[in-house]
């Protein structure tokens, strides 16, 4: 009797456009090793789920996915054991790109192509292809959107808050940096800032405290839509409606709120876990020595950066398909 909320929808939100043309035909069998950090929050869970469902779509792909871990030491061991197990291609989302560089190189040296997802290795020698989001641009786009909206509303000396993710991760710092830089370009700066832990509970807790400290607030950027559930709840709990909020990553949940336009959430900046599906597709092609169909290139490109589009009420319908269940 106990199932999760939307069982059908959760599994394969973005499988429609993975492989087209010739590439869709089954080729030689490929075993793909997959290693990622612990799926301890919605976005990271979506990455793993997407990778698995992408692999299931291909009859020629066997996915060898390891337990997610936030201990780099352990992740290294996992990748090593994947190498030992003799996989054809590796897809690695490192907990810490720099720390896993060595093992990435080790795989490459052993002749196993590595698809590096999101958090980037220290040297191109450690990966054959990289696909990831643009954390800095995410901050920039959020900053620009907020600044422009405030300008439109003619707010003077606005107070802009920030609910960051886990502070010790480089991605959080890049996002914050982009946000700061963008605001600065408009002559604005970041006011109250807290960091949560990508979980709804920490989002609620930290935002509740932030709102207490900031009696006036005009805009709030929340890095991550997982914790966003808590951030929105905290705003409701405090009964505040004096500011608007921008999310990050692009969960279905936030998109629905944007569409409804009844609460504080006015936009979210994409950082879609669809990149995991793409990574599997690329890994399969690498294993079969194919290129990307639509490109003139014979090979898979070495780097692909996804775009952090700003989703607003106007364009939300176009993006519902890449929304993930946080």
């Amino acid at each position: 009797g106990c199932t999760s909320n939307e069982p059908e929808q959760q599994n394969n939100p973005q499988q429609q456009n993975l492989a087209q043309g010739d590439n869709a035909q089954p080729g030689q069998p490929v075993t793909i090793g997959f290693s990622a950090p612990a799926a301890d929050h919605g976005w990271m869970a979506a990455m793993t789920i997407n990778a698995r469902s992408a692999a299931e779509q291909f009859s020629d792909v066997t996915l060898n996915a390891t337990e997610g871990t936030n201990d780099v030491n352990q992740q290294i061991a996992q990748v090593e054991s994947l190498i030992n197990a003799g996989v054809d291609v590796l897809v690695i989302l490192p907990f810490d790109g720099k720390a896993l560089t060595q093992v990435g190189r080790q795989a490459m040296d052993a002749g196993i192509p590595v698809v590096n997802v999101d958090r980037v290795f220290d040297t191109p020698l450690a990966y054959r292809a990289w696909i990831g989001g643009d954390n800095y641009r995410m901050g920039v786009n959020a900053g620009n959107y907020i600044a422009e909206r405030l300008q439109r509303e003619n707010v003077n000396n606005p107070v802009i808050g920030e609910v960051a993710g886990i502070d010790s991760l480089p991605l959080t710092q890049e996002r914050s940096q982009g946000f700061r830089d963008a605001l600065q370009r408009h002559g604005l700066s970041v006011g109250p800032r807290v960091s949560a832990e990508f979980t709804p509970e920490s989002g609620e807790r930290q935002t509740a405290n932030l709102l207490q400290g900031a009696q006036t607030l005009h805009a709030l950027w929340n890095h991550d839509d997982d914790q966003g559930v808590g951030v929105v709840a905290a705003i409701e709990n405090a009964g505040r409606n004096d500011f608007f909020m921008v999310g990050g990553a692009g969960s279905t949940n936030m998109m629905n709120l944007i569409k409804a336009d009844s609460g504080p959430v006015k936009a979210t900046v994409l950082y879609s876990p669809s990149m995991a599906s793409s990574a599997i597709a690329m890994a399969r092609l690498l294993g079969q020595n194919k290129g990307l169909g639509d490109l003139a290139e014979h090979e898979i490109p070495s780097e692909i950066t996804t775009y952090s589009a700003v989703v607003t009420r106007e364009n939300v319908d176009n993006y519902m398909d890449v929304g993930f269940d946080s």
């Binding site: 009797g1 106990c2 869970a45 509970e201 405290n209 929105v232 409701e236 269940d325």
Partner: protein, 352 residues
């Protein structure tokens, strides 16, 4: 007592009862002093916002879940055990009560579901500890992994939003300006205090933690009692899950992360010995509040996380040292404690 009567009257009851309360007070007074100090710091650094009713109620609401968990933890620790699984049980309860299936039965069933899941997990812990004779650390560590895993499985690692507005409306409301969550916290504390200090159940809990063998030879059913104490802790986790769900309007397998550490820290800083047999719920309450206020001061003053961490460590140690000094100044420390005593576990050891 030097030149008392030939046989001093047995009950200088008045005096000794006073003494007793004084001895207790001193510990707690030191601790309360630390809390007041922190509040003063908060007031100085953020005079406009810190002591507003709004902020107080926010802080208390944030303290509610961890406070309730700490009540259960106090029982377990006084009984000489430890419960590492509280955070995971909160997660599991919160997820279970927010599945579509559960929500479809309405708010009452949701609440019952959370309580039963919590109680059930607690009783499993208890049964393994007392009847299976697995040490508490290992038992609850295992439950910590399993309950979290089950929560992830149930939720598919998705955040489950509460659509049942009856539930959220009730628990997010206020009565006479006091949030329902804060009232619940107060109730749990009051009931906990009465059980611990005014009932035979509470006395037996202390006895088991103080000396399980003595308790057994006094005819106490130590196994059953121990199992029940873990059940209480689980039940508290169920209540905390309701609070978390009410606050975040969602259930998620990530709820309750690090609750075990926070709760144990609050209990220990509140003066309860990890070796069992001694402790007070009031201390635990003050401990919870200290951590909440600290957090609030940090965020309101916009401190970097790293500085927060460094300061947190220093403040915790400082608080405890301060407590010690207060206690020593009053010369109320029984001499058994003046010796090295690297850990309280050993004070049990011996003395003349």
């Amino acid at each position: 007592m030097t030149k008392a009567l030939d046989r001093p009257p047995v009950r200088s009851a008045g005096v000794s009862a006073l003494r007793r309360s004084v001895r207790f007070d001193v510990r707690l007074v030191g601790l309360a002093g630390v809390l007041v100090l922190l509040c003063v710091i908060g007031l100085i650094t953020r005079p406009e916002t810190f002591l507003t009713q709004d902020n107080l109620s926010t802080m208390l609401r944030l303290a509610a879940a961890i406070g309730v968990v700490s009540v259960g933890m106090t029982f377990v620790i006084i009984a000489g055990g430890i419960d590492l699984s509280v955070g995971s049980i909160v997660a599991l309860s919160s997820v279970w009560m927010t599945t579509l299936a559960t929500q479809s039965y309405g708010p009452v069933v949701m609440v019952l579901c959370a309580l039963l899941v919590g109680l059930g997990c607690g009783l499993i812990n208890g049964a393994l500890v007392s009847y299976g004779k697995v040490v508490p650390f290992i038992t609850t560590l295992a439950m910590m992994a399993s309950a979290r895993g089950l929560a992830e499985r149930l939720s598919g690692r998705q955040t489950q939003v509460v659509t049942e507005t009856g539930f959220t409306d009730f628990f997010r409301a206020s009565v006479l300006g006091i949030p329902v969550l804060v009232i619940m916290l107060a109730l749990v504390f009051a009931v906990g205090w009465i059980v611990l200090n005014r009932t035979t159940f509470g006395r037996r809990t202390y006895a088991i933690g103080g000396n399980a063998e003595a308790a057994r030879l006094s005819g106490i059913n130590v196994k059953l009692h121990t199992a029940l104490v873990y059940g209480i802790s689980g039940l508290c986790c169920g209540i905390a899950a309701i609070m978390v769900v009410a606050r975040t309007t969602s259930g998620a397998s990530t709820n309750g992360l690090f609750y075990e550490l926070d709760a144990i820290a609050a209990v220990v800083i509140g003066g309860t010995l990890l070796s069992g047999g001694r402790g007070s719920l009031i201390g635990t309450l003050i401990g919870v509040l200290i951590f909440t206020v600290l957090n609030s001061i940090f965020t309101q003053n916009n401190l970097d996380t790293d500085i927060q961490n460094i300061a947190k460590g220093a403040i915790i140690v400082g608080a405890v040292l301060l407590q010690h000094t207060t206690a020593r100044r009053r010369k109320r420390k029984p001499p058994a404690r003046t010796d090295p005593d690297p850990q309280p576990t050993n004070t049990n050891g011996s003395q003349s």
